[in-house]
Structures are given as C-alpha cells and as structure tokens.
C-alpha cells in the first residue's frame, strides 16, 4: 500500500457503488445489502422475494479485482449478504445499468423486446444475473443460460422469453458499445481504460489492517491475515465465524437472531488460496464454491453435476466450501463426495495446526470436532488414483437450487472385477453426513455385479435410519439409497441411467 494513500478508518466501511466511493460508519454488522439499498439508498429496484437467497429478486453484482488484472464480476443475493462484507468491493445494482439519457442496457432491452417480464417483480434480479452472464461469457448455450439463471425464480413467464433474451442480448451490444457496462464478456479480455480506472479505484480503497466495527456493542471483525484471524478466534471463542454468510445470513433474516460478535474470514487472503502438492489439492476455507468447483471437477469430472446443482450461482459465488463443511449440515452436498474421496481438514487454533480426516469431524447433529477457539483453515482433497471410479447423485424435488433429499457419493476401486475398496458416503440419511460402513465392508472383496450388490443392500439399513420430512419419507430415502448403488453399477457397465443424462 503506497504511503500517499491514507489507510482507511478501521471502523468505517468503504466500497464503490457504480464506481463512486461510499464510506459508512457505524454500520450495523448484520444489516444486509438489500436493507441498505432499499431503506437507506432508496434504490428500490432490488426486491425482497424471500430473504433467504432462494428467489433471486434481490440479485446484485459485486466486482473485485481479478487475479489477471481487471474486474471480476459476480452475482450475489443481497438479501442475505451483510453490508460490512462489501468493504473494499464494488457494487452494481439494477439502477446501475441504464444510460444517463434513459437508454436501456443491452440486457434490459433484450428483455423488453423478448417479453421477458410480466409482473416484473422478479425482473431486476434476472437483469442482474443476466448482466453477470453477459460480462462473463460469450454466446452461452441453453445449459449455461439455465445454470446462470438457476437462482432466479419467475412465477409468471415460464422462463422461455427470458432464455430467448439471454440468447439475444449479445446482439444488442454488437454495434460498438462504448461503455464498459455495455460491452459483453470483457472479463476474459485485456482490461481497457474504463475498467482499469475502476480497478485502480478499488486498489485505492483496499486496506492493509483489519476492519473493526462496533455498533451498539455488537462487533464485526474482518482480519486480513491468518495470524490475526487465529488470534481473534482464540480471543472470542463464542464469536460467529462468517464466511459467505449463506447459512449465517439466514440466522438473521429468517430466525431473527441477534449476533453479538462476528469474525469475517472473507478478507483473509491466505484462506482463499488453492494449492497443490504431490498427493492432494489444498483448498482454503474461504474459497468460494464457485472457485473451488473447477479445481475439484478438473480432478473429478464426475462431480460436475452435483456442483452445478449446489444451490445457485449467486449462492455459490458467496458460499465457501469451508463454510459448507464447517456447518456440517446433514444435507450439505459437498460432504458426501469429500467423504467418499477421503478428504481431510486442516484445523487451526492459535498457532497450532492439526489435520484430521473429514470422517472424524462430524460427531453428531450440529456437533463437530472443533475445540473452542479452533477453526477450519483448509481442506485437503486427495488426488485421483488411476483406477478410481466415482459417482455422486443428488436426489431432490427440483433439479436446480434444491436441497438434497438424499445425496450419495461412491468411490470404487476394482481389481479383476472384484471390489478392492469402496467408500459410500451419504447426505440426508442420518443426523450427519456419514459413510455406509456396513455396506462398504460387505462389498469389499466381492465381485462387482448386480447380484452381489443386491445381496448386501440390506446392510444399508444397518448404516442408516433416516427421518421423514417435507423433502422425503424415511422409506423413500432408504429405497433410493439402495437403488443408487444399483444405478452406479449400471453406469459402471456403460448404461445411461439418469434422466439428466438422457439425450444429452
């Protein structure tokens, strides 16, 4: 940080709104970006449809400096994002796009022309998700469009006209857009003047020391170094660790809980690193699911679908893998594959590090092997062994943006048609994400055949006694878990067994 640039006050947040500096003191640590926009700024375009990250009516775009220079744009859900996490970032809302003269942005004009709005309440959110797509991707195909819009619900249009608009929006920018905002897909290009200026402004507001907010006795800390973080967590063992806030945010917006002390991990650059060793890939606890996904699927392409179906892009852009694993929900989607692959966690307490297998992390419902003052520093994912066969299946009522009724991951090793090793890990089947130890044991050494598998399926009843809830009955969970093993067998023999693979 050049000395000419005064270090920003440690008790006020600074961010750019449409490129303009906003500095706010006394920020309530759990005030959401949506509340700020609607109540303080009277930017009324962003809507609240659910306050839980599920409908997308509140979608906004956040920009940070990209590793390669230039800006990196991400759609997020403003309803569950705490305002204080915007410190050092740049925010765009639906109001950012229109030209001063009133002319619409290509995304907006395409939506108008394709009849993409009816009641219009979902529309600002779609505009922002499409804007992120517009800037991040060129000529996306239908599947990419679906994926980009997975976090936006529309009850009126049935989506077809919105998809058409997504296909056509690039055409509106074709004839020489002069504003950076109107230029499609610049994120993968060399940044030009306007973008460089914005990047420079972002650098200007970057701070080197921790942010510390105090609002009526409630604290918000955003340390920047790992040591600072470790010290804070040790100092405030009762504090809530906040990463992407896609779980924590809902404690506030849905459960109306009052959080006293919050320690935000999202500014600790050491936690955002992805590193490789000879035997594993190490993913920092604050790496977002969006960023972790390509690294993981590069190594394990079989996990593509489950990560694509993990929440939605705006949630994945905020949510961290570390948060998913730390939260340890029995229906979280990353744990079954990570358990099946034998991932480990690096835990940090004060100056001490220790590594434990993920299997040993979950002790019981909402109970983890974390000591007071300890936190997750990173996750280590073993590299692929040559003869591994892997699958991960997510079963839910809806393909996109749904929570698993059952999630099953299976990692298999065969030798001459016999099972040398198998690890089966399930979500939705117990109070914690859990391996099917009885079934695994019964399969080891067996021939990998349908009759042999069918023979041992009842072992799964020893492993799991699932509950009934609104996502599925216990009976269904039991049966499907078994059937997914059969599906896996059929797939290892070359059959197409999933409706999502059919015809694709």
């Amino acid at each position: 940080m050049p000395q000419s640039q005064p270090e920003p006050a440690h008790d006020a947040i600074r961010f750019l709104l449409d490129g303009e500096l906003v500095e706010l003191a006394n920020v309530d640590p759990t005030r959401t970006v949506l509340q700020y926009l609607r109540e303080d700024k009277l930017r009324l375009g962003s809507k609240e449809g659910c306050a839980e990250g599920d409908c997308g009516a509140c979608t906004v775009v956040v920009a940070e400096t990209a590793a390669a220079g230039g800006l990196r744009l991400r759609a997020i859900n403003s309803c569950i994002q705490f305002l204080a996490t915007l410190d050092g970032k740049m925010l765009f809302t639906v109001e950012s796009l229109q030209k001063p003269g009133g002319e619409l942005h290509p995304v907006q004009q395409a939506l108008v022309d394709c009849h993409g709005s009816q009641c219009g309440f979902c529309t600002p959110g779609f505009v922002m998700s499409l804007f992120a797509l517009f800037k991040n991707s060129a000529a996306p195909e239908r599947r990419e469009i679906d994926a980009a819009l997975a976090g936006n619900l529309c009850r009126c249009t049935g989506y077809r006209p919105i998809i058409t608009a997504a296909e056509r929006m690039y055409g509106y920018a074709a004839n020489g857009a002069t504003r950076w905002l109107d230029q499609p897909n610049t994120c993968n290009e060399e940044p030009r003047d306007e973008e460089l200026q914005m990047t420079a402004r972002l650098k200007e507001i970057r701070r080197s020391r921790a942010l510390r907010l105090d609002s009526k006795g409630r604290q918000f800390y955003a340390p920047r170094s790992l040591d600072d973080l470790a010290a804070l967590v040790l100092q405030f063992p009762q504090a809530v660790l906040l990463a992407g806030g896609t779980d924590v945010g809902l404690w506030v917006t849905k459960q109306h809980r009052q959080l006293e002390t919050i320690i935000y991990t999202g500014q600790v650059s050491a936690l955002k690193r992805i590193a490789r060793s000879a035997s594993y890939i190490e993913i920092g606890a604050a790496v977002t699911v969006t960023d972790a996904m390509p690294v993981i699927t590069d190594e394990y392409p079989e996990l593509q679908e489950v990560f694509e179906r993990f929440a939605s892009p705006p949630i994945r852009n905020a949510a961290t893998l570390g948060g998913n694993v730390s939260n340890g929900s029995p229906i979280g989607d990353s744990m079954p594959p990570l358990l099946a692959l034998g991932a480990t966690l690096v835990l940090r307490k004060g100056e001490r590090n220790r590594e434990i297998p993920l299997d040993e992390f979950y002790l019981g419902y909402q109970e983890k092997a974390l000591e007071p003052g300890e936190f997750v520093e990173s996750l280590r994912l073993p590299k692929r062994t040559s003869d591994l066969q892997l699958a991960c299946y997510k079963i839910s009522k809806r393909f996109d943006q749904d929570i698993s009724a059952v999630c099953v991951a299976i990692a298999l090793q065969l030798d001459a048609g016999k099972v040398t090793d198998i690890r089966i890990a399930c979500g939705g089947m117990a109070a914690i994400p859990k391996r099917a130890e009885h079934c695994e044991a019964a399969l080891r050494g067996q021939e990998w055949s349908e009759p042999a598998i069918s023979n041992v399926l009842s072992e799964l009843d020893k492993d799991f006694s699932p509950i009934s809830d609104m996502r599925a009955s216990d009976q269904y969970r039991r049966v499907v878990c078994k059937n997914l093993l059969l599906r896996f067998h059929a797939e290892t023999s070359g059959a197409v067994v999933s409706v999502y693979d059919y015809g694709r």
Binding site: K47, G49, V127, R142, L153, R160, K397, R398, V480
Partner: protein
C-alpha cells in the same frame, strides 16, 4: 391545420393497434427497476411497520393473550387484538366467517391473533415473537378423510346429476373405480401480500393495496373501521403477481394496516415476509377424488360418478364458487350423458384455501382425465383414442351436465391438428420401442385437451366500468376497474382505446386501479379482465368519439359519416386535423371530453339452485402433448418436449397471450410435479419458503417447447375484437405432463394396468407408483 389527406398516413397503423404484439406497458420500468410496487411507494412521514402474531395451534381457545412484553419491546408503538376492531371483524368475501384477527378462538396454525406496530420492520417482527399465550387445545381436523367422516363442511355439499349414472355403470360392459389424491398449490407470487394505509383528514383513509379486488378491500376496510365506503379509497397500480392469491386475502392485510393507521393517526404498512405469507394465506384446494365409471368396448363413457372432497380450510372464503367450478369442469371436453357429481367442501383446521388460476376448474379436469387414462389402460387402447371417442359433438352430444349447449366446440379440430404437428403417433410407436429396450429409463407421452368456461359463475360479477378523459392536447387518461398483476391487462385495454380513437398508445396514460374512479368493480379474475374491462373502455371511448363526430360534423358542416379517425388524425370531409386539434376545438366549444363506459356480459343466466343454465358466455380451448422420461430407480423425471395448440380467438396482443400460455403451462406443470405442500402432524405447514416449496425453475422448461396459437379463429361471441380470455385455460394444458409421467410409469407394467399415481408427481410419488406396478410397496 393541414388541408388534404395524406394518403400514406391511412396505410400506416397507429402504434399499439389491437392485434399488435406490443411489449407490456411497464416492461421498460420492470427492467430498469423503476416500476413501483406497493412497498416502493414513497413512505409517508412517521410510517409504522406492522408484524403479526400468529397462532401456533390448529384449533384452540385463547385463554390468555399476554402482550405486555410485546408492548414493552423496543420501537413498539401499538398492539392490536380483535377487541380493538371498532367495526366488523371479518373479511370473508361471501360469508362472514373470516376474522381479521382471531377473537379468542384460533382455527389454524398461522392465524393472526394480534398486530404489532413499530418504527421499523425488524422491531415489529422481533416484538411479535414475545407474546405469551395460553391455549386450550380443541380437537382439530387436519385431513380430508377425517373431515368427510365427521361431516365437517364449510358449506353444504352439492350434487349435480344428469341421467342415471348408477344404472348406466351397472349396465356397462366395463367399469373401473378408484380414488386419487391431488395436492394443492401455493400461488407463490414473487411480491408477498402488502398494504399501506395513510390517514387523511376527517378520518378518511387512503389505502395502497396489492390486490386483484380494490373494491372489496375498500368495502371491507370501511366495515372493519365502522366507516362508510365513501371514506376509504383504495389504489393499486400493479401487483408483483397474484394468480388468485390476491383476490379475497388482501382485504385482511389492508384492514390491519388501516386499523393501525386509524388508531394511531400514522401511516402504517403491513408487508408479510415469505414465511408468514405462505403460512397465513390460502392456496389452491387439495382434493380427494373418488370415481366410478362404466364404458363400452370402444371406451365410450356410459356413466360416470365423481365424489370430490376438497380442503377449504377453516372458512368458506371463495370455496363455494371454486368447488362449483370443479363440478362444471369435471366434463372437460367430454360428453357425459349419465353423470353424478357430489362435491364436499370440507372444513379443516388449516388455512382457508382460496382462488388460484383455474379456480377449481383444474381439479375437475384432472379428475376426468385421470378416468380416461384408466379406461384406456383397461381396454389396452391409446388414451388419445378414448379421449376422441368421448369428445363433445358439435351438433349433438353437445349439452353439458349443467344444461348449457356448447355452440363453439372446436376441440376436435385442435386435437387433430396437434396430433399431426406434434407427430404424436409416430413418437408413441418410437417410444414404445425405446421402453422395451430400456430397463431403467422409461419414456411416456400424453395428449390432453382443455375446454374452459369463461365468465364468473356468479352472474352479477360479470360487469365492468371504465373512465376516460381526453385532454386538450389530445392525450388520454384511461382508468378501469381491472387490475394489473403482470398479465398485461392494462396494455390490452389501452390497445382497445388506441384502436377506437385511432391514436398512438403512448398518448394514453394508463393509470392505477382506483376505487374513486371506477366504483364497485369486480375482482380481476376468472380470466375475464380483458373481456369485461376492454368492452367497458371501448364503450367510453366510443362515447367520446361519438361526441367528437357530432361536433365536427356540425362545426365543419359535413355529414357524420364523413368524419373519420385515422392514425392520430381526423378527416372531416376534406379537412384534416390532428386528433389533438379536434380535441382542443371540442373543448373550446364546450363539449364534454370525459366519459364512463359500462359493460355487462350478455346471454349468461344461470340458476345456482338447480345447477343449470348458461353460466359461461363461451369456452376457450386448447390441447397439449407432453413427453417425459422417468427413472424407475429414483422416480425422477424430466420433461423432454411439449407441443401446445391454444385458442385465443382473435388475439388482442399475441405476445402477451403467448406469455400467458407459456407461463400458465409451466405453472400447471409445477402444480402437478414439484410443488408439494406438506403439513406436520400438529397442523403446521412445513413448506413455507422457496427452500422447501419448489416452483419450477429455468431448467425445468423443456428444451423443446413448441407453442402455437390457433390461427384465424375469431370468437363466435361478440367479445372485445373477437378475442378470447387466456389467463387461466393454459394452466390446465399441463395435465398432459402428469399423464405423460403416468404413461411412462404404466410402461413398467407393460401398460396392462393404470398406475395409481398421486399428484404432485414428485420423485417419491412416482417411485411409489412404480413400486406398486412392480407388485411392491413403498
């Protein structure tokens, strides 16, 4: 003033003529975030925010409601209970059984008992959780079977009968009977229920309400406050979706806001969060349907019997008319010569169910389509052949069970055309072949028709008013009793006025629904918005136009038929004026440039006591073919292709109509597949947010989605520009999705029997049906 006609001008149509595919009038505001919904309206000084305290018991007497902690909480200004309501504590649209705030007795989990007003929303919501309540639990009826057994009904059961169905079924060569459960559906409008009440001088109130029925909100608020209708004005510019959910229920929300405003003298806003909205407000009725049908070798139905039991919840709300419509649509497109329909309107200790796109019609149609599938399975026929065999005739076999002669039947034509364009037969053969060779994945296909009756079945509601002003610059202020919920009604009505006056649509100001401009308007519902309000606005426009013609003819000394309105101009004999010039001249000559228009639907007359007459002015038709693939191991399915052919008459706006067809279809598909409402054993809804209640998302749209509108079919009846209503009918096209799934499941048992598949067809419901086909049990 220019002399001599510009020939070209006559060939150029105005912008926004009837039939043009104009975007929604607010589209540019929607996309820029500038469209104002109720929560976006500038907040008055000192606005109070309200939250509600809701019952946690399904049926209980409230022994003690201790609100002291609520009152003491930070920011709280006022707490209201039933006792604080000066007027009538009721918002029931038909029967007075819907308390605004529960008076000592709660009848469902989520029923509001008190309202807290505070300086901020968070303060109000936090405070509402602090009440200490002592309940005395009473027996609760939570499911339909219990309700029927206990004869717990909100309204008397009804019976509609023609011929002797019992005898016909016994005499028939074949018969099948069964029972199917059909789930409800949450409207899930993206904008939750909301109202803001602003006190005005002399105790008057101005209420902004997100409502399909401003008139009823006005009347209900006045009654609750012990005021008169004249003391309350209700305004609604637009809703963020409604789908029937904002027909009767906004009155409750508005009443609470108005009560707080009246008591405190401060403006007050009540906005339900998503959970409160889903827990507290009614949904589409779920049904248990018992059926019994007799038929011949060809699948022709000889006799048919239905017993419908629907969950009305704790009060009658609109359940009477909704269940009547179920009865009226359990024929769908089929001639049922001997038919008995019994309808039970069950009272349960759950939220009072209400209107939702289709208004009971979808459930009736679902029932007969289910039966037709069973017949086909029993006879080993293609269900389409059985469907066709039973279609209403055009000259005979064309009288409905409720004695209306169908004069506009085009279902045969639509189905013939769709069967061809969708390649139905070839695909069925191909799919059969696929299924024989596929062990885990099975495909299914179905073609189902829709015939939907247009009009409110309550005859008196089929009326509408409009108000039109022309200003001296030739621009127009348009108002009517309809409301805008995204369907594009305001655009369509403005197109009608543009067409009548021959002026560009952007010269017309579309204005908020407002009870002080058009009084006593019916709800915008029953798909009738454009039919009614379009006609009323047309009358108003014609009245003004007629005055202008009389004036111009006199002023310029020409015959009246020499005055013509063309493309923003008026030709008066050889003189050409702009519309604005004529308006100005007319004003100068002291001609009134303001008019009302009124319309009542002709021909309909219907006797509810005998369930006979002509409840519907006409019918809207359509048909759809859906194809799915189902996974027999998990019950997951995916919709592969949909072909639709729908009848919009002569469309007022093909782009908006297409939007209604597509949107309605996907919404209907959600109802029958992924949208599942669950209650726990304590009567609490467990699916009260989008995290647990899954409406269709983008990727649920089939990759191959082919929608066509029936070409060149003007409405036989004299509707507005011979168009047809299109709001509700397309929803029911999605019944084809359900039957395609059923078809795929049936293939597991080689189509030897018809699977018992419950709706919604979630993966679990599908796997259960498959397991049963395989002789197992899940």
């Amino acid at each position: 003033m220019t002399m001599g006609a510009d020939k070209n001008r006559r060939d150029v149509p105005i912008r926004g003529a009837v039939g043009s595919a104009l975007p929604h009038d607010s589209a540019h505001l929607h996309v820029s975030g500038a469209a104002l919904y109720t929560d976006d309206i500038a907040e008055p000084r000192n606005l109070l925010h309200i939250a509600l305290g809701m019952s946690t018991r399904p049926h209980a007497r409230i022994h003690n409601l201790d609100l002291s902690k609520v009152l003491a909480a930070a920011g709280v200004v006022e707490v209201l209970t039933a006792e604080d309501i000066p007027g009538k504590n009721d918002f029931g649209p038909v029967i007075a059984d819907d308390p605004i705030l529960a008076p000592g007795l709660v009848q469902f989990v989520g029923q509001p008992m008190f309202a807290v007003a505070a300086d901020t929303v968070e303060q109000a919501r936090r405070a509402a959780r602090l009440a200490v309540i002592e309940y005395e639990d009473l027996d609760a009826i939570l499911d339909l079977d219990e309700a029927v057994a206990a004869k717990s009904f909100v309204l008397p059961s009804e019976k509609l009968q023609r011929g002797d169905s019992g005898a016909a079924i016994s005499a028939a060569t074949h018969s099948v009977s069964g029972r199917v459960r059909l789930g409800g559906q949450d409207q899930f409008y993206l904008e939750g229920q909301i109202a803001m009440a602003v006190p005005r001088e002399g105790g008057d109130l101005y209420v902004y309400s997100s409502t399909q029925h401003p008139g009823e909100v006005q009347h209900t608020v006045a009654a609750a406050l012990g005021k008169q209708n004249k003391d309350v004005i209700v305004e609604c510019r637009r809703m963020g979706g409604a789908f029937g959910g904002k027909e009767s229920q906004p009155a409750q929300i508005a009443c609470i806001a108005a009560l707080v405003a009246a008591r405190t003298g401060r403006a007050a806003k009540l906005r339900l969060d998503r959970d409160a909205d889903m827990i507290m407000t009614g949904k589409r009725h779920d049904f248990v349907i018992d059926y019994n049908v007799g038929f011949n070798d060809e699948g022709e139905i000889e006799g048919c019997e239905f017993t419908f039991a629907s969950r009305c919840g704790m009060s009658a709300d609109l359940s009477g008319a909704i269940n009547d419509r179920t009865m009226f649509h359990s024929d769908n497109a089929y001639y049922l010569k001997n038919i008995t329909i019994v309808s039970h309107r069950c009272k349960t200790n759950t939220v009072s169910n209400t209107a939702f796109r289709g208004f009971g019609g979808p459930q009736g149609m679902f029932a007969i389509e289910y039966v037709i599938d069973d017949i086909a399975a029993c006879l080993g026929k293609d269900p389409l052949d059985v469907r066709r065999r039973n279609f209403y005739g055009t000259t005979d076999r064309n009288v409905t069970p409720y004695q209306q002669t169908i004069e506009d039947n085009i279902i045969g034509e639509i189905v013939d055309q769709l069967e061809r364009t969708a390649d139905y037969r070839k695909r069925r053969a191909e799919l059969q072949n696929y299924n024989e060779n596929s062990r885990w994945l099975k495909r299914g296909i179905a073609l189902t028709p829709v015939k939907f009756g247009i009009s409110f079945t309550a005859t008196h509601l089929n009326q509408a008013g409009a108000l039109l002003h022309v200003y001296t610059d030739g621009t127009v202020h348009l108002n009517h009793g309809g409301t805008e919920m995204g369907q594009g009604l305001f655009t369509k009505v403005a197109q009608v006025v543009a067409e009548e006056l021959q002026i560009d649509i952007d010269r017309i100001k579309i204005t908020a629904s407002d009870t002080s401009k058009v009084p006593n308007a019916s709800a915008t519902a029953a798909s009738s918005g454009s039919d009614l309000n379009g006609k009323a606005a047309q009358v108003a426009a014609r009245t003004i136009k007629e005055r202008l013609i009389v004036f111009a003819a006199e002023h310029y000394g020409v015959r009246r038929d020499e005055v013509r309105f063309v493309n923003n101009h008026v030709y008066v004999g050889a003189t050409e004026l702009t519309f604005a010039e004529l308006a100005h001249q007319a004003w100068f000559a002291r001609i009134s440039l303001s008019a009302t228009g009124f319309y009542r639907t002709p021909k309909i007359n219907y006797n509810r006591a005998t369930f006979s007459g002509r409840p519907f002015y006409y019918f809207a038709y359509g048909a759809a073919v859906s194809e799915v693939v189902v996974d027999v191991l998990t019950g997951e399915h995916r919709l592969l292709r949909v072909d639709v052919l729908h009848d919009c008459g002569q469309s007022l706006n093909p782009a908006l109509d297409l939007g209604q067809i597509e949107g309605g279809f996907i919404q209907g598909a959600g109802w029958l597949t992924s949208e599942e409402l669950c209650w726990n054993t304590d009567g609490a809804l467990t699916t009260h947010a989008p995290s647990t209640y899954k409406i269709p998302a983008c990727s649920d749209l089939p990759v191959d989605f082919r929608i066509a509108m029936l070409e060149s079919h003007a409405n036989r009846e004299d509707t507005i520009y011979r168009s047809k209503a299109v709001g509700e009918p397309p929803l029911m096209l999605a019944i084809s999705v359900f039957h395609a799934i059923r078809d795929a499941v049936a293939s597991v048992g080689d189509h030897k029997s018809s699977p018992l598949l419950q709706a919604p067809a979630t993966p679990e419901a599908i796997l259960r049906a498959i397991t049963r086909m395989q002789g197992g049990d899940l």
